[in-house]
Symmetry: none
Subunit: 401 residues, 2 copies
């Protein structure tokens, strides 16, 4: 559904909505006929909440489509993931908490190795230590050009975020990573006239970088890819009338939440319990809370079935602290599935729970993939969840006479 439609029906209310996103929540059994990670986990609090909730399965992007973190989050936040796209570069910059401006061009950078002839010998420069990366980033920051500002932010190992700030920079340019070794890195080419300046400046930067790094083997060259501006989204305040807070330990999720106009609140510490403390401390100041759980996805991508089970159980154990705040609406879901069996994101629909005093509960006292298949929300596009949450929060009025 179009957000403008929902926006037009939006009415003020005093209600509060809490959205707990367990990253990569959906799973698969290790053996045919077995239980998924969520079904294996001992989750007494979620099961009890499920009995008073409507359950369902959300499809983040489309049937059979495996979403990246960007489209996965945009859709559960209620945005059409086809209409808004967060490019790789923008996502990486958000991931290091870089404060991207609307005219900045971000790219994902790699240190790499080239031989005397300039042919790429290692696309990841032997995965240099992060400390080395930080030293080399300082060197790259010495590159200056008239009318444009550069930012180089170390991510990890050979990876860094690269940002160009200046006027007249378009994002429609090609990448320099040839995706294989034994060939030279590619030049940046403009795909549209408005991006010619971007291409010219990026090529000059790369040439300057090559000269600076010439004796820094194995990291004696850089490659840039995923050039992107960030998409300008209508904010939660604008479309839903919500003062929204984001609680996340990882920059990428804080960044995507910022795009939606959420205020990123401070988490004192780096545990899930610390995130729940931040929730409590900010409870009175916002209408909507997005709380991101990273460990479920990390374990899934590592193929660590029982690590993912424990991560889910950790959330369950903290649920009483959320329930004590008496939210009017609670969503528990994921941005996509990450079955340990596949060691990656996957296309499978995501188990979803929606609690409110006014939800039509389906009386299934279990939160799991099988239970959600039988649930009252059915199988629905993830972007349709927010309007249902807003309705349950009595924040949408009647349509039509």
């Amino acid at each position: 559904m179009n957000y403008k439609f929902v926006q037009n029906l939006s009415v003020p209310a005093q209600t509060k909505i809490a959205m707990i996103i367990m990253d990569g929540l959906g799973g698969l059994p290790l053996e045919p006929g077995g239980k998924t990670e969520l079904e294996t986990a001992h989750t007494p609090h979620l099961d009890e909440l499920a009995a008073q909730s409507a359950l369902g399965l959300t499809i983040p992007v489309g049937p059979g489509i495996t979403p990246g973190s960007g489209p996965g989050h945009l859709s559960i936040f209620g945005y059409d993931p086809f209409q808004y796209e967060i490019g790789r570069g923008a996502l990486e910059a958000l991931g290091v908490d870089f404060d991207l401006g609307p005219n900045d061009i971000a790219a994902r950078g790699n240190f790499c190795s080239v031989d005397e002839a300039g042919l790429v010998t290692d696309r990841r420069a032997g995965r240099i230590p992060t400390e080395t990366n930080k030293e080399l980033a300082k060197l790259l920051r010495t590159i200056r050009m008239e009318g444009v500002e550069f930012f180089i932010e170390t991510i990890k190992e050979h990876r860094f975020a690269f940002v160009m700030r200046g006027s007249g920079l378009g994002e429609a340019v090609t990448e320099t990573d040839p995706q294989k070794t034994g060939v030279p890195a590619l030049p940046v080419n403009a795909l549209q006239p408005d991006s010619q300046k971007t291409a010219r400046i990026a090529n000059q930067f790369i040439e300057r970088a090559r000269k600076l790094l010439v004796d820094k083997r194995p990291a004696n060259m850089i490659m840039l890819r995923g050039f992107a501006k960030y998409p300008v989204l209508p904010t939660y305040q604008e479309i839903f009338g919500l003062r929204a807070a984001a609680i996340a330990l990882n920059g990428m999720y804080r960044g995507v939440a910022k795009l939606a106009g959420m205020q990123v609140v401070k988490v004192d510490g780096d545990t899930l319990a610390d995130e729940f403390t931040a929730l409590e401390l900010n409870w009175k100041d916002f209408d909507f809370f997005y709380l991101h759980v990273k460990k479920t996805d990390t374990a899934g991508e590592d193929g660590d079935f029982f690590g993912k089970v424990r991560a889910i159980e950790e959330v369950d154990a903290l649920m009483p602290r959320l329930l004590a705040l008496k939210p009017d609406v609670i969503i528990v879901s994921g941005d996509h599935s990450s079955p340990a069996l596949l060691r990656s994101h996957s296309w499978h629909p995501v188990p979803t729970l929606l609690y409110s005093r006014y939800v039509r509960a389906d009386h299934i006292a279990e939160f799991g993939e099988g239970a959600c298949t039988r649930g009252g929300l059915g199988i629905l596009p993830a972007k349709d969840l927010m309007p249902i949450a807003l309705a349950n929060a009595q924040r949408i009025t009647k349509y039509g006479a």
Copy 2:
């Protein structure tokens, strides 16, 4: 979802997908509270496969819409049945294995009876024997005109396929069948300027045919309807990267598969077992196999409930031969429903089974309409099934960063 979207995410793999289409599979109980044809059939192999599969119901065209064979097949093949249309004429020509070219105009022809005043007295010429039709077709083939070639292919009884081949022939023309008796057949009129040549030549052909048939009562005239070119579809190779094979005993289904770029493989014999033999013989040479089962629909349209039950049981008995090939993904579904109770195609959603090692099985050990209603695929547009099959075959990569 747009096929271009899937096309952009398509990646190569060694996996194989088998799609068994039981024509008109969906059914209804004969008595309220009873079982459908599929639920009545003894299907131990399909039931066992169902337990390891995700079940669902596919909607071929739209809620409440009864599909013809053309849209039914296009949608289960993954095409939008609103975007691509196979006209009646093209479908009839495909049905007699006519090798339609991209500029050919095909129409469905009827021999009919007219009186001395030229008024239609029988739209089907008393359903003349097929042998008579073949004799008259030879006569019509003697009609020649400058710059255009005609093809007349007997279908059955009074029906034939009519094809015009030449340059500058559009398909936007009216039909000559007045759909009632006591009136003259209508002239062919162009609906668009690009189809004026088609109308002129078709009218000349009909006039020449009338003269040739004048003493051939009851088949002393012809009517043409459903003028159409065939739609140019993006092929399975182009959009899904699949080398696809089609196995079908009836020309119409071979024809529709050819439109999708599938290679029609030889079936030595005319039984379902012969089709499975063709599947085995071609297994190593293709990535995707479409195997069409006709008898289910024939029995449904004949109102033969137990004939349809037996046709389904025949498929079940042959399933071990498919399973022995160890496909990575198996789809068992239909192109539409044909309940014996209705003696026709119907609008009811179609029972669908999708098996793979990576499907999220719903542990329902039964393949039937009721079981599919509770399944993990939910109720979904038939055209969304192929992306899910491709995902399970690990032939689609992640969307977005």
